[in-house]
Amino acid sequence: MSCGDIPDGLATEEQGEALMPRRVKVQRFDKSKCQKCRTAKSMYIIRNVTYCKECFSHSLFTRLTRTLHPAMRSTNLTSSELKNKSLASIGGNRPLPQGGSVLIGLSGGSSSIALLDILVEREYIGKGDGRVIDRTKGEKQPVWDRGIILHVDFSDVIENPISKEEDRSEELKKWVEGKGNGLVWVGLKAEDVYDGGLRKKIRGIVGLPKEAEGEERVDGDGVAVDLKNPDLPLFPSSSSSSSTPIDQLRSILSALPAASRPSFLSSILDSLITTTSQIIPDTKHILLAETSTRQAQRLIAGTALGKGYTLPLDLSVINKSSLSITDGSKRDIVRLKPMKDISFKEVAIYTHLRGLNGLVRNARNWDNAGPQGRKGDSRGKGNTRSLESLTEQFIASLAVTHPATVSTINRTGDKLRFTGVKEDEVTCPVCQLPVDPNALEWKSRTALTSLPTKTLPQDIGAVTNGVEQGKDKESLAKMLCYACLTTFTPPTVVSKVARTEVVPIQLPLWVGGNVRDRRREMREEIKGFLIDEE
C-alpha cells in the first residue's frame, strides 16, 4: 500500500497526520526560451516570465484590450467588476464599432506614444473619411471613425535650470502626421487657458465653423483672486487684457507656492482636455495613457494632496462625466485609461522595440514650473519641490526594489469607491470634480488660524464666513474642493493687519466661467424670492 492510497474508512486521524504532504510540482523553465511560444529566444523578463519580442507585443496588446474592450461595452461597471469579466463575455477580440471621434492625449512620454502606436497599428482608428471597409480584403472595421491627438505644451512655463525646455509640438506633430492615418493634430499651449480665442482656435483646427451656433458656453472675461488672503476673495477681471496669456499664467504660477504648481498645471491640462472634447461634437471617448506606475503615484500623491474624496473617480478606468454644452443640455463624455494594468517598464520596452525611443521624453519637469530658486521655497528629499515629484521618485524606486508593492497600491486604489452622487454634485470650479462637503469648515476646525477670544474683532470668523474682510467680495475658498483649496492656500498665513496692498491675480478663463455659472445657478434657485430693484 502506497502512502497516499489508504482505503476509505481505514484512515484514522493518526494515519492522516502521518501522511507526507503532497509535494507541489515545481515547473522549471528554460529561461533562455520564451515561455509563451517555447521556441524563440527570450528577450525580456516581466514578472518572472520570459518573453520573446513577438510574444511580448502580443501580451501587451492583450492586456490593453482587457481593459479597453469591456470599458466600451458598458460604462456602468466598476473596475473590479470589469476585471472579473472574461474576454469572451464582452464580445470577443474586437469591440463594437463606436463611430465618432476618439480624443487621445499625447504627452510625448513612452506610454502615450505606445498607446497611439498600438491603436493605429491595430487599425482601431479610422481615417476619418467615412470609407466603407472591404472585409474581403482583410480590412478591419475601425472602432472609431477619426482620431484626434491632443498635445499640450508646457515648455513656456517650465524653467529648466540646465537648458531651455524644448517645445516638442512640431516633432510630435511630424510623427503623428507621418502615420498617415488621417489623425487630426490639436496642439495647444498651457497659456491658452487665458486665451479668449481658445475655442475658436480649436474649432478652426478640427474644421468646424469658427462661430459656434449659440450652443457653446462662453468663458468671458474671467475673474481675479487675491492669493495672499486665505479667504481668496474674488475681484472682477483687473487687467483689461493688456497682458498676454503667457504673462498671466506666469504671474499666477509665481504667486502660488512652489509645492502647489504641479497640481495647478494638472488642472490646466484637465481643463484643456475637457474643453477640446466639449467642442468636438462627435467625441465618443477620451483615451489617456496612464500606466500602472503612474496610477500608483497618483494614488499616493493624491492622498497627500487631500484628494481622497474624488480619488476613486480619478483612478477608475472609466470616468463618465456629463458636460454641459449649453444651459441645460448635457452630453456624456467618457474618459478611459486603457493602460492601467501595464507598467511603465513594459511601455518603455515597447517603444524601444518599435524604435520610437528617439521620440520619447518621459520627464515632465512640472516641478520646475514658475520662478526658480526663490527664498523660502521648501524643498524635500532629493531636492523635490512638490509632493507629486517626491512620490514619483518614491514609486520609481519602489518599482525597482518592490515591484509587487506598486501593484498592491493599485489594487487598493481599485477598491476605493466614490460615495457622492456624481450627477447632482456641486463641482469645484478649478478641477471640475465633485466638491467634498465642508472642506473649509474641516480645515478651519483641525488647524485653527484665529482665536475667538484673542484675535482682533475684524479677523473673527474671517475664515469661516468672510463677513468682515472683503464684505462684498465673494470668496473663492468657499467654492473649492479640499484639494484645490490646499493648492491655493498661501503657505504661511500672513498677518492680515500687516498687509496693505491687495494684488488680485487673474484666474484662468475656465475658472471664471465656472464661478459665474455657480452664481447663476444660485440665483436661479432663489429667483422667486428676489425683489426687482425697480
Binding site: K307, L311, R379, G380, L390, R417, T419, L451, T453
Partner: protein, 350 residues
C-alpha cells in the same frame, strides 16, 4: 527690525512658527490654539467622551502620552467633561528603556495627581521582552511586543474598571498608517485607521484625541510647558512630505477619512469572535497573543511567529497561559447572550 507680533492676539511677541499653519504666534496663543484643536477633536460629532466616564490614558512616559495626560487634565477642568482620569502603563520589561520611562510616568502621576496602574508583561504572560528577545532574537520581536501590548492595555483597563482608553497617537502616526495601509493593501485597516474612536462589541473603546496634532507641536508644547518626558530617539527627524507642504499630514488624514470601500470588499471581512483560550477578542479561534505565547512556551525561536490555529481551546500541558479576559462592565450588566462564551466558561482552566 521690530519683533513680529503674534498673528493671533497681535499684542505679544511671536515666539514660534507653528509647524502646522506657519503662523507666527506667541507662547500663550500657541497653548490655547493647541488645546482648542484637541478640544475640537474631542467634541467633534457626538463627542468621544460621555459625562462621568472613567478614562485610562495609555502612558508610556514618552512625549505624546505625557502631553496627552497634561492636556486632558487641563481640558477636563476647563470644559467640565466630568471625566475620571487614570494613567495606565505597560511594563514590557525592557531594561534600560522601559524602567527609565516608567520613572517619568511615576513623576507625572505626582504632578497631575492621577492614579497610576502599571501592568507588566511578566505578570500577565510570564515573559518579559528581554527574555523574548533572548529566545527569538532581535528581528521581528516587535510583533510580540505589539500584540502583547495591545492586549495588555485592554486587560489593564478592565482591571481598573474603565470604559475607555485614550492613546497619544498623533497626526504623523495616523498619516503614516494611512500610507502604509495603502501600500500593504490592508483595506480593512485603511477603512478604520482614521476614526477618532474605535470600538467593537467586546473591546474597550479606544480614542486618539491627538488625531490632528502634529508631532512637532506636541514636542513644542512639552518644551514650553516644561513637561518631563522620556525620550531616547531623535525628536526632530525630518519628514519629507511635511518639508514640502506643512499641511500634507492633515491632508492625508482628510483623504483617509474620505476613503470608502466597495460593499463587496466590506462583506468579505472576517467577523470578530473571542479567543477560545483566554476570552480576548480575536478574528480566529485563538487570539494572536495566545498563539504567540504558545510558540514561546514551546521554546521556539523566530518560528514562533508562524503560529497555527490547531488545537485551539486547550493549551499544551505544562504551558503557561494568559488569564481569562473579563470586561469589568460586562460583569452583571450584560451577560453574554449565548453560544461561544458559555462554552468557553465550561472548558476554562482554573
Amino acid at each position: 527690525m521690530p519683533p513680529t507680533p503674534c498673528s493671533l492676539c497681535h499684542t505679544a511677541r511671536a515666539l514660534v512658527k507653528r509647524p502646522k499653519t506657519g503662523q507666527q504666534v506667541c507662547k500663550d496663543c500657541f497653548f490655547e490654539v493647541f488645546e482648542t484643536e484637541v478640544h475640537n477633536t474631542i467634541v467633534e460629532g457626538k463627542g468621544i467622551f460621555e459625562r462621568g466616564e472613567k478614562v485610562a490614558i495609555g502612558a508610556s512616559g514618552g512625549k505624546d502620552s505625557t502631553v496627552l495626560a497634561h492636556v486632558l487634565s487641563v481640558l477636563n477642568k476647563r470644559y467640565h467633561y466630568g471625566l475620571d482620569l487614570f494613567l495606565l502603563s505597560i511594563d514590557e520589561g525592557i531594561t534600560g528603556y522601559r524602567d527609565d520611562s516608567l520613572e517619568t510616568v511615576k513623576q507625572n502621576q505626582i504632578e497631575y495627581g492621577l492614579p497610576l496602574k502599571i501592568l507588566s508583561y511578566n505578570e500577565l504572560y510570564g515573559w518579559t521582552m528581554d527574555k523574548i528577545v533572548e529566545q527569538v532574537g532581535r528581528r521581528n520581536n516587535c510583533t510580540f511586543c505589539g500584540v502583547f501590548r495591545r492586549q495588555a492595555l485592554d486587560r489593564g483597563a478592565a482591571q481598573l474598571g474603565v470604559d475607555h482608553i485614550v492613546t497619544g497617537h498623533n497626526a504623523d502616526d495616523i498619516a503614516e498608517t494611512v500610507l502604509m495601509n495603502i501600500m500593504r493593501g490592508d483595506i480593512a485597516r485603511l477603512g478604520r485607521c482614521t476614526a477618532v474612536t474605535t470600538q467593537s462589541e467586546d473591546t474597550i473603546k479606544r480614542s486618539k484625541p491627538f488625531k490632528y496634532a502634529y508631532e512637532k507641536e506636541i514636542v513644542m508644547y512639552a518644551y514650553f510647558k516644561k513637561l518631563t518626558y522620556f525620550s531616547t530617539e531623535c525628536i526632530y527627524s525630518p519628514d519629507d512630505l511635511e518639508a514640502i507642504r506643512p499641511s500634507a499630514i492633515v491632508d492625508i488624514i482628510h483623504s483617509g477619512e474620505s476613503f470608502q470601500l466597495e460593499q463587496s470588499v466590506q462583506k468579505g471581512m472576517k467577523a470578530m469572535q473571542t479567543c477560545l483560550r483566554c476570552g480576548y477578542i480575536s478574528s480566529n479561534d485563538l487570539c494572536k497573543a495566545c498563539a504567540l505565547l504558545e510558540g514561546l512556551e514551546a521554546g521556539l525561536d523566530r518560528s514562533a511567529l508562524r503560529q497555527t490555529q490547531a488545537n485551539s481551546s486547550n493549551a499544551p500541558t505544562g504551558h503557561r497561559t494568559i488569564p481569562m479576559f473579563e470586561r469589568y462592565s460586562n460583569v452583571g450588566a450584560s451577560q453574554p447572550a449565548e453560544g461561544i462564551e458559555k462554552a468557553v466558561q465550561a472548558i476554562e482552566i482554573k
